[in-house]
């Protein structure tokens, strides 16, 4: 039985009085899409921040493919195959959608072709394909700050995918998107993930989305995993209906 893709052991951290992670131990198996739900301030984003090395836990460990990555800075963790998409898209606002991806590819490839024009690197075709996968091929040459929130969200994810990660952590991929759009975006997303064979963890508020797209759900509360199970189990669980869905609805 191989080690889980990502595993956390007894993560602890508190900000001031608030306990953001209270002894979090969690295993994430490869090839599945795990949704994290829970009320605001439950520590969902903090969990992603710890897993990617952005903040260091007071105690506890993060293991990726069985190796301890807790002390590493984000960039080193990223190089091991953990990519991240953000609640607020983190893009290079002076560059076009395609360039954002090309830069990501350049980061992945390192110094392969030092003085070649970015727009002429061999990864160009691959990146165009990626843009098609996330339905943004038509805006490839628009600077990203001209694009809609939804498009930027998708490009933010595409930029992460361009790194060819094995694990993708997403913070509310559909937040700030018109609810009519949400399902469309998730459709695209899940297809893209499947095509690229990427395991994903995504924080989500919309229970509809969770029900339709997650293979597994973890319920966060007060800095820890309260429940874990299949979408149907979880969404019908009384506590969840009380604590989470009630709050969201």
């Amino acid at each position: 039985m191989s080690a889980p893709l990502l595993e956390t052991r007894n993560l602890m951290i508190r900000f001031g009085g608030v306990i953001a992670a209270n002894d979090v131990s969690l295993k994430i198996e490869a090839g599945r899409n795990l949704a994290i739900i829970g009320p605001n301030g439950a520590g969902k984003t903090t969990f992603l921040n710890i897993c990617t090395g952005w903040i260091k836990p007071k105690s506890g460990q993060v293991l990726f493919e069985g190796e301890d990555i807790t002390p590493l800075p984000p960039r080193k963790i990223v190089r091991r195959g953990v990519a991240r998409a953000f609640q607020i898209p983190q893009l290079f606002t002076e560059h076009t959608a395609l360039e954002n991806l090309l830069i990501s590819a350049a980061a992945r490839e390192g110094m392969r072709h030092p003085l070649r024009d970015l727009s002429r690197v061999p990864e160009r075709a691959e990146m165009m394909h990626l843009l098609e996968m996330v339905n943004c091929a038509d805006v490839a040459h628009r600077t990203v700050d001209e694009l809609s929130e939804g498009q930027r969200k998708l490009i933010d994810i595409a930029v992460a995918l361009a790194l060819r990660p094995r694990l993708l952590l997403m913070d509310e991929p559909t937040s700030g998107v018109a609810s009519s759009q949400k399902h469309k975006i998730m459709e695209i997303l899940i297809r893209a993930l499947a095509e690229a064979r990427v395991t994903s963890v995504f924080v989500e508020h919309d229970m509809g989305i969770v029900g339709d797209y997650a293979d597994e759900v973890a319920v966060w509360n007060a800095g820890n995993v309260q429940l874990r199970g299949t979408p149907t189990e979880i969404l019908e669980h009384p506590d969840v209906i009380r604590d989470v869905i009630g709050e969201v609805a």
Binding site: N49, W54, F86, I88, Q90
Partner: protein
Amino acid sequence: MNLTIFLLALFDGIAYAALVFIVALGLTLIFGVMRILNVAHGSLYAIGAYATVALTGFFLSLGLAPALSFPLMLVAAILVGILLGGPIEWLLLRRIYDKPEVLQLLVTFAVFMILEDVQRLVWGTQPYFEARALQALGNVTVFGVTYTVYQLILLPAVALVLLLGLRFFLRRTILGKLITATTEDREAAQSIGIDADKVFLLTFIVGAALGGLGGALASPTTSILPGMGADMIVLSFAVVATAGLGQIEGAALTALMIGLGRSFAVYVWPEVAVLVPYLIMVLVLLVRPEGLFGSPAARKI
């Protein structure tokens, strides 16, 4: 180095630090509130000195008492604040708050270049010296070394008053609170009905006046001549950056460090005296990237 020497160096250091602090105070206030590093501050310092010399020269020639030069220093400083600081903020800076910082900085750089020539056109190139204010206070002798009361006592006293005064003003008075509020979050401040434009104008006038006051207070101790602003401004930059931008107490501490460092250098190894301010700056920032009292800005994601 025996105790006497140590104390002498201490006195010299404090006297010098006081002056540096007063000049840096205006700079750090303006930066703290408006996020603008005002290169023209050096010119305001110089013009404050020139104005004082001109005023005292005129009034004392009417046979008035030398003691009058002290209120005249204040007048000169206020004139600088209102006649120069006001227009600079009103006509220039106000138009570029939305522009990148470097452009704002360059605007003040341009103003600096212009004012440098203005000084020369108005006051010519011959150095002025107007020490009657200083002579009026006489000397004190410590360990057989004569100091002027002006430098040994008055300057540090003024510096202390300004430090405490500004602290009180910013923390205790309504106006001060308005200013600090605007500093922390301009939008929020405006949303609760603070007129940020007025606050900025006022801040800049006060800051400019402080620069002018620095010059006014320096005038009895030094030759007033073209180019005197250029040196002062880099020194105050060093103070402000080392202190942590917008940190008043930090500026005081840094000025003291620089003043003492310099005077001890003159006693121990005169050749490095010039290096001291910049060395201190680099060393401090090496350990505390945000300056002595600065707080790191957390990146939200």
